[in-house]
């Protein structure tokens, strides 16, 4: 037999359930409105495809025969976003690598998945201009197409570091990944486990022996 007390308790709990459902639906609608408002108010500068007018950039092109890096000027319309700008710079370099008659041939369609930036931790001395670390995520296809050897692999890394540093001076350190993963070497030789100082990419021609 159902007592009055049980009926009262059941009705009270049913009412509480209805009120809670109404509150949850209301909260959900408010959260949805807030997210839509934030998406609408996003700054246009990070939208994809936004580019600045073309400007002169310097790309450092390696030469396998003498181990040198040569500065090449190009006019490029770079995106406003830093990450996209770095990616366009490096892809332009890879385009030179795969061009017919390249002095550092690498046959790959796309060499860089993405470039990310991290603030460089300030030193104990508190340097204000510690700069940024560029994390360059190379494509697996580049690592496969990269000719194996100390010289060719080192030149690929140096060219990328020199190009980044020349056009984005705030880049002081560079770390390389392949398809988003850490890797021991680029193609069996050049060490990718370490973070490179961008200034190590000396664009001056490497001195050569006299036997040529």
């Amino acid at each position: 037999m159902i007592t009055r007390a049980h009926k009262f308790l059941f009705m009270t709990m049913l009412l509480a359930c209805v009120i809670m459902a109404a509150v949850l639906i209301r909260l959900r609608n408010r959260a949805q409105d807030r997210l839509q408002a934030e998406a609408t108010a996003a700054p246009p500068s990070i939208a994809e495809g936004t580019s600045n007018p073309p400007r002169a950039v310097t790309l450092y092109v390696p030469n396998d025969l003498d181990g040198s890096l040569t500065a090449v000027e190009r006019n490029l319309a770079l995106p406003a976003d830093n990450n996209a700008e770095a990616r366009v710079l490096l892809e332009s370099l890879v385009e030179i690598f795969r061009a017919p008659g390249s002095t550092h041939p690498i046959s790959v369609a796309s060499g860089v998945n993405d470039v990310y930036f991290l603030p460089v931790a300030r030193t104990a001395r508190g340097a204000d201009d510690a700069g940024q670390e560029a994390v360059v995520d190379l494509s697996g296809a580049l690592a496969v197409a990269q000719p194996s050897g100390i010289e060719p692999e080192t030149l690929t890394l140096l060219a990328m570091m020199a190009t980044l540093h020349a056009n984005m001076p705030q880049v002081t350190q560079v770390h390389f990944l392949v398809d988003g993963q850490p890797r021991d070497t680029l193609a069996g030789h050049a060490d990718l486990t370490r973070t490179y100082m961008a200034a190590e990419a000396n664009p001056e021609p490497v001195p050569t022996g006299t036997g040529r």
């Binding site: 050897g149 060719p152 190590e200 022996g209 040529r212």
Partner: protein, 237 residues
């Protein structure tokens, strides 16, 4: 239980819990010999490290030629010539094996060598590429870090590279000099140079020669042995 007693009990429990957690494991790296400081013993020992080997073929120089085979052939040939000249030689591998980078460096460091040559080969470029570490010169330390042991030998490594450069130039072989981060170079506690042999591209002085050309390999090995002999008389300076 009063508050202070409860806190004391909690501290004891926390302490015992922490005591059961093993400390983080540092990478197990071999210790450097005492002579890791740039002091060299009177005996003149040369370490030859034929890169790659075993399941690591290195570069594919041709469809039927792998880097590991060329480096081993160069190492064995150079070892024979140096031993014929009464120079002690230690090799990191004599067969198609692939010692780890740590094992290679450990062997070289315990040999307390006067010269360490890391031998590579590539299909790119022309002549011979010589590389020293990209580390900056650092003062000798009693217990140098394993990963940067080479830093105390940068000046000596550059001198050794200069000797090899001269010998190769004398043999009419083009040389490219550079600095690179290549393992196990940075962990070597000895004057160290990476020697990377490439094919010879024809020019106005040189004629084109493949990397498998026995005569070309002999010329390179002879130049390296001449450089080591020259280093034998200069290395203490």
């Amino acid at each position: 239980m009063r508050w202070t007693e409860a806190a004391a009990v909690a501290a004891i429990l926390l302490g015992s819990a922490q005591a059961q957690i093993p400390p983080p494991q540092a990478p197990q790296l071999p210790s450097l010999p005492r002579s890791a400081a740039p002091l060299v013993r009177p005996q003149f020992v040369v370490v030859l490290d034929a890169a790659h080997g075993g399941n690591d073929p290195g570069a594919h120089l041709r469809s039927d030629v792998q880097e590991k085979d060329i480096t081993l052939a160069l190492s064995n040939r150079l070892r024979s010539i140096l031993r014929a000249r009464d120079i002690d030689v230690v090799t990191t591998r004599d067969t198609d094996a692939n010692p780890s980078m740590v094992d290679r460096a450990d062997l070289a460091n315990h040999a307390e060598a006067a010269a360490c040559l890391v031998i590579h080969a590539t299909a790119t470029g022309s002549g011979v590429h010589l590389f020293t570490t990209s580390l900056s010169q650092a003062p000798a330390a009693l217990m140098p870090p394993w990963q940067t042991a080479q830093a105390a030998y940068v000046t000596q490594s550059l001198k050794l590279e200069s000797e090899i450069d001269s010998a190769l130039a004398h043999a009419q072989i083009p040389v490219t000099l550079g600095r690179a981060f290549v393992q196990p170079m940075d962990s070597l506690a000895c004057p160290a140079v990476a020697v990377e042999m490439a094919p010879l591209v024809g020019g106005h002085v040189t004629e084109a020669r493949a990397i498998v050309d026995a005569g070309y390999q002999k010329t390179v090995v002879d130049a390296l042995s001449a450089a080591i002999e020259s280093w034998h008389s200069d290395w203490k300076q």
